[in-house]
Symmetry: C3
Subunit: 422 residues, 3 copies
Amino acid sequence: MTELTLTPTEIMEQANRALAAANEAKFMTNNLWLLISTVLVFVMHLGFAALEAGFVQRKNVVNILFKNSMIISIGLLTYYLIGFNLMYPGSNPGGFFAFSGFGLTPPENGMTAAYGNYTYWSDFIFQGMFAATCCTIVSGAVAERIKLFPFLLFCIFFVTIAYPITGFWKWGAGWLDARGFYDFAGSTLVHSVGGWGALAGIILLGPRKGKYTAKGIKPIPGHSMPLAAVGVFLLWFGWFGFNGGSVLSADPASVSKVFVTTSLAAAAGGLGAFVTSLAVFKSYDLSMTLNGILGGLVGITASADGVAVTSAILIGFIAGVIIPLSVTFFDKIKLDDPVGATSVHLVCGIWGTLAVAIFGNYGEGVGTIADQLVGILAIGAFSFSFAFLFFLLLKITIGIRVSSLEETIGLDIAEHHQSAYS
Amino acid sequence: MTELTLTPTEIMEQANRALAAANEAKFMTNNLWLLISTVLVFVMHLGFAALEAGFVQRKNVVNILFKNSMIISIGLLTYYLIGFNLMYPGSNPGGFFAFSGFGLTPPENGMTAAYGNYTYWSDFIFQGMFAATCCTIVSGAVAERIKLFPFLLFCIFFVTIAYPITGFWKWGAGWLDARGFYDFAGSTLVHSVGGWGALAGIILLGPRKGKYTAKGIKPIPGHSMPLAAVGVFLLWFGWFGFNGGSVLSADPASVSKVFVTTSLAAAAGGLGAFVTSLAVFKSYDLSMTLNGILGGLVGITASADGVAVTSAILIGFIAGVIIPLSVTFFDKIKLDDPVGATSVHLVCGIWGTLAVAIFGNYGEGVGTIADQLVGILAIGAFSFSFAFLFFLLLKITIGIRVSSLEETIGLDIAEHHQSAYS
Amino acid sequence: MTELTLTPTEIMEQANRALAAANEAKFMTNNLWLLISTVLVFVMHLGFAALEAGFVQRKNVVNILFKNSMIISIGLLTYYLIGFNLMYPGSNPGGFFAFSGFGLTPPENGMTAAYGNYTYWSDFIFQGMFAATCCTIVSGAVAERIKLFPFLLFCIFFVTIAYPITGFWKWGAGWLDARGFYDFAGSTLVHSVGGWGALAGIILLGPRKGKYTAKGIKPIPGHSMPLAAVGVFLLWFGWFGFNGGSVLSADPASVSKVFVTTSLAAAAGGLGAFVTSLAVFKSYDLSMTLNGILGGLVGITASADGVAVTSAILIGFIAGVIIPLSVTFFDKIKLDDPVGATSVHLVCGIWGTLAVAIFGNYGEGVGTIADQLVGILAIGAFSFSFAFLFFLLLKITIGIRVSSLEETIGLDIAEHHQSAYS
């Protein structure tokens, strides 16, 4: 082969072009994974809709489906308008509150300043899909007796204001982040926030008619177990994006590890709830097992990126054990939650956040038990207070509960003049 | 470090290898996104099946499921045999018709000549998934009274001949493409084409028995709202691939922007239909809201890659407003469409195609209002005529409508000797 | 432009950096595809759950959903504990058995030694999703009369011991691999293994009460065709990952070709079953058509990477033709399989494995008819014997069949004290 007559500059330019192209290729793959994760998290809205529809009575199915369709619709629009810029204002690091204005303001090159692994648009749409889930959690707990209009009002404010503010505290680099609090994909920031909203709602609403009687607790079984099971499987499906996408890149080591911890925690959650139900209730309880899987998923969400596989299994298993106990407990104190959302998202969300301190390994000053407790309490206090006061305001003004007659005939006919089946 | 004793040629070869590897990596990611989009578009067939099954009466469910299972099966096979080479013949640019022969003839290297972002095989299977959707749209509109065998015959010819011919006009670089007509992912080329087929079908079939009576319009409610809602969510899910994949690469800026415009238009469509239903019918109407989401998606499909986010929201919102008005209109003129497919796919498809001219920014001579009208009219005239004549031919030969008795007992028993539920 | 004053070493280092970055980018994309395939294969568990739930009677739905929830949960955990290291021990090449110890032992760098296209974690979780499917196949066949506890025991041992051992023979580089046996994604290794387990189970269990009477065969129709159809579409959806992911890289040529062969075989399977049902039973049979699609998918699984497209269509079509004939045959010999799992997974699995020899092109000494027969027989003998003996042991100890009364009232009430619908 004859020697090329290339100058060093020409060769270096070719090497530079190659490196730039390789970095572009990485950027493409990283960004693509965030987009695919967005699609997966989107499916969680269907998962919640199916799960909740399955767990309510036949007469309240249209209502649940309507609520969940509107939550994702309104949630995305308000997150676009306000929420995103409240959660990721790009200013006031270590602070309590910041807002960078209405609507989207993409930088010239469309990339995020912070990471460089995805575009501004990908960042927004991924975070937007997350945001609306917190109201979907509330939706199930308050089902079968809440009035539609005040519920939608609550959602708008909860998703647009409350969720992004506490989200900013950690993921927007606010004070909890500076304090060392750790929550990988949102055991607290998403699930407990939704759980606190649910708790406030069911306290103020009261239980469904006939649930807690003088003769004891009357179970009100869900109208379709297949629908509920489809919902749980779809939620697990979506969780691969919820946790896997929260790596915020397609880094092979991290994402694949997160897939393993997430899956095994879910599996262990199912097993834990199965074993506990068998021991406590002497029955193979499908609802508990399904919620156990979800409990395991919520539990691992705070630490899926930073625990050993054996720890992930233990975290999931304990979450699964918690589920039947927690469901029983809430029934004992007469807080009526038709789908078990408070047990799954609030209780297991708290457990998962504490598990960061017990099993996680995030370096000095990050995720200590004190850090985690501060985060749990601060976000809990804010979210619960916000939800409680907002629901209370609605209660004393336009009312939040349907009439006794409407509850008896069902919200589908009462609110929608439509039946789910015919 | 000691100096290497490398010749310039050796170094340049290493730089060349690196650049080639980087380009291979990009090709892999681009191709992978088209394949994943294929999977997502595939799910739309399930979405349509579920939506249509949910919106029909209990006695016609097996029939709808059977039709949708056969449409995807037959559609893929005939697109393989004929359609793909009719739509993308790779010849006669600016023309009306071309055909490059039966079956697949991959180039030696398996790459497309035109783009270089994906393989020949990926191109075929992505386009094949698109093709069958146009008959799935018809399927819902003509449900509950069409005979199975003529319907399948219609599908074979519509998917294999009609759809690819008008597809060629634009996406195959035919005369409409040369004319400046723009339709990003198929508001007209896919959705309106299906909608025109649906319109022809319902005109020739006539309404279902008992739908339009002397006493007014009798609503015939769908038998399962959960199934319909699952269908709509799955369609939205699939649309990430329908629109996102139509970028035909994993280009981060384009795909992520398309995700944002698509999602916000869907959300705004749901909101638009909700608000309009509340204003016009004074009810929280689930069916309308679900169809509003679909209307928003159809509306944004022509311009998802080239409008501002605020425009996308407006396009989706207007599509949502259109839905209840259009559904009411079709009922007024006694064109009976059990699932609202003509409103969703035809009317919103036209709206979305016009929106290109109003909100889009595709450079001079592309997507003007005149260009768009020519495309809408030309494709509409061809698709409607083809469908009308073909259905008419079937009507006067083997008949297209089941007997009155069969309609009363339902197509499941009449055509399949099987019930959907037992 | 002025000349740079770079030494050859400096330039070469830049070129090396570029090449390393390009290879990293490829690794990211390859690994990402395996992870996404994992997600898709996960959905197959939902697909099976929905399909089986749809095909059983209303009174046995909770039971099926419970079993399928526990199979994925337990299956992943035992595969983590034992199965993975039994199937891919990384030792004893060409052998019959090896085991590399309990739990996961990732290499220092987290990469697989063998391929270099994905991480150790991705490998485990992808294979883990595969593993549990073999019991999901059994679950449907033995439905409506098996006792839950012995079934779960069976699953644990079948997934943890039997499946990985025969898996090792081929995919773990054991004796069948050395012998030239070829099975791309598991027509035999996964589907027939499940099918043999199903066959053993239904032989020992006997048919459901009232199925085979003196007056002939009484059809026991499934309780929900929509659920079954949703299941089949989701299985097809998941199969893009099952076959596509089995390429074990995102290699554009291979994965896209596999998408085409897989899709067209599925389509041809649906068509084959449709045509055959129409010819033999004179009916448009939805169950047969759905199972025909699955048969086509199972049939192409062994050779999706190495047959011509026309061959793929033929393989799928023949599988589709097989389905109604095989279902009829099993009913004739009074082997009662409520969902047709033996026909779909066992018979079409064998057909697909033979098709490798007929249509495949894998080079000399690979996939000859003799090789394939040895594999089919060896794996069949082992899997069937294992399952038969294990079920027999359970039958003569704790019993495997519910009481006649329990069967009549249904397993949902008998085993779970819960109804699927209320």
